[in-house]
């Protein structure tokens, strides 16, 4: 199991061709209080970098992008009733979707935890 990160602050936890996706603790802290999350329907396919979900704070709506290409096999419906979960546990219970990867080679374009931490420190 390895977690990768994108420059748009999504995380993706990979086990074989299955993955769980969410937004990073850094992103959740930057957004502030999350008041609404819109997750995609199961069965929807996305290319790497496509708009996949929406997360809204009091101030604004932000897009969440697919870190890699794949298809949604499960969406976290709990977030509709409890969007604050994204702030409370962004890289755990605040996950957005589970994915079947289309092309694991795309993961090489992402950052590991160490590289991502350095990336955030430079923001």
């Amino acid at each position: 199991m390895t977690t990768y990160y994108t420059e748009d602050h999504e995380w993706i936890l990979v086990e074989g061709d299955q993955a769980t996706i969410g937004i990073s603790a850094y992103a959740a802290e930057q957004l502030g209080d999350v008041v609404f999350v819109e997750v995609p329907d199961v069965g929807t396919a996305f290319g790497q970098g496509e708009d996949m979900a929406v997360v809204e704070s009091v101030k604004a709506a932000s897009d969440v992008y697919a870190p890699v290409s794949g298809e949604v096999v499960e969406a976290n419906q709990e977030l509709e009733a409890a969007p604050e979960t994204v702030n409370e546990d962004p890289e755990g219970k605040g996950w957005f979707v589970k994915f079947t990867l289309k092309d694991p080679a795309e993961l090489t374009r992402l950052m590991d935890a160490t590289a991502y931490k350095a990336f955030c420190d430079n923001q």
Binding site: A27, G32, V35, F36, V58, E80
Partner: protein, 384 residues
Amino acid sequence: MEQTQVKELRTTPLHALHCELGARLVAFAGYEMPVQFAGVMEEHLWTRRRAGLFDVSHMGPCFLSLADSSLSGEAAHQAISAQIEKLVPSSISSLSPGQARLTVLLNENGGILDDLIVTRPFDDELQGTLYLVVNGAMKHEDWALFERTLSPHVSLQQVDDRALMALQGPKAAEALGGVLPGCGTLNFMQGRRLIWRGQEVWCSRCGYTGEDGFEVLVPAEVASDFARVLLADERVRPVGLGARDSLRLEAGLCLYGQDLDPRRTPVEADLAWVIQKSRRVAADFPGADRILEELVSGPRLKRVGIEVTDKAPARQGTEIQLNDESIGMVTSGGFSPCLERPIAMGYVRSEFAIPGTEIDLIVRGRPRAGRICTLPFVQPNYQR
């Protein structure tokens, strides 16, 4: 996350203090301004329960006065009022000393060029001067309009190099009263010149949150000291522009550039109350024909509140539909921290501007349920 370009931006006299307080800064109206300190939700609720201190120095405070006039007292006030009344539909001449009034600058079609607060000074020796605060994003256009339109005998003094601070909330009067005792003589929509540590400050009991509170114009040299004295009071915390926007939306107050623009008249904007009867009778303001006609026959569009019954916020630009037909557009929308649900305002065709009308809000292509309602969403707490 978007990166904010901070080059070439002006800073306010409180910039160093914002940095010290850990503000998150963004570009707004040509300035680098704090959007939040502890967090929008927390700052919003703190302002409703205690007192929030806002830096609004990006705005456009200015004075209009009669240059080289032999007039004094009431005659001087009438003369300067006649000048600004060329551009606004409100009665400025009828203001009593120390009274402030919300009004709008109008173009020849009756469209709104800006909204502003005009205050008649309280002191005898200041009659013939008006204190105006216009919007930060519009101040250069507004000031050019004054120079172009008003008599050469009127002088415009721009004082946006000073700091303008707003202290808002149910504890604002107690907190400011300890620092600037003269503020206690003011009721809602009254203002006057006061002295703080030997410096002239302009204090008005008004604001943009729906709460009791004050706006205080302070010389730049003492701005930080003044803010620090207020922040030393445990009831006062710094609040950014993020919460300022959510507070004003709950209070049903318009943001120029979103809810008001040159296409909209005061009647459409549900601000006909800014046009006093004497001005309606005189019909002597820009766009009077259209505006008076709308007052009789009703406007084509009307600004309304929208309760979003679905959970998805409907932001600015969201289309409003009724039975699959487009009837209007959201101009401001967000999440209400007090009501813990999304709220919005916008313009709909007048025939549908009836509280209780069920509508659809088209958010990212999907219809979300809403209902037309009256404004405000949260009742004001003004001290009259």
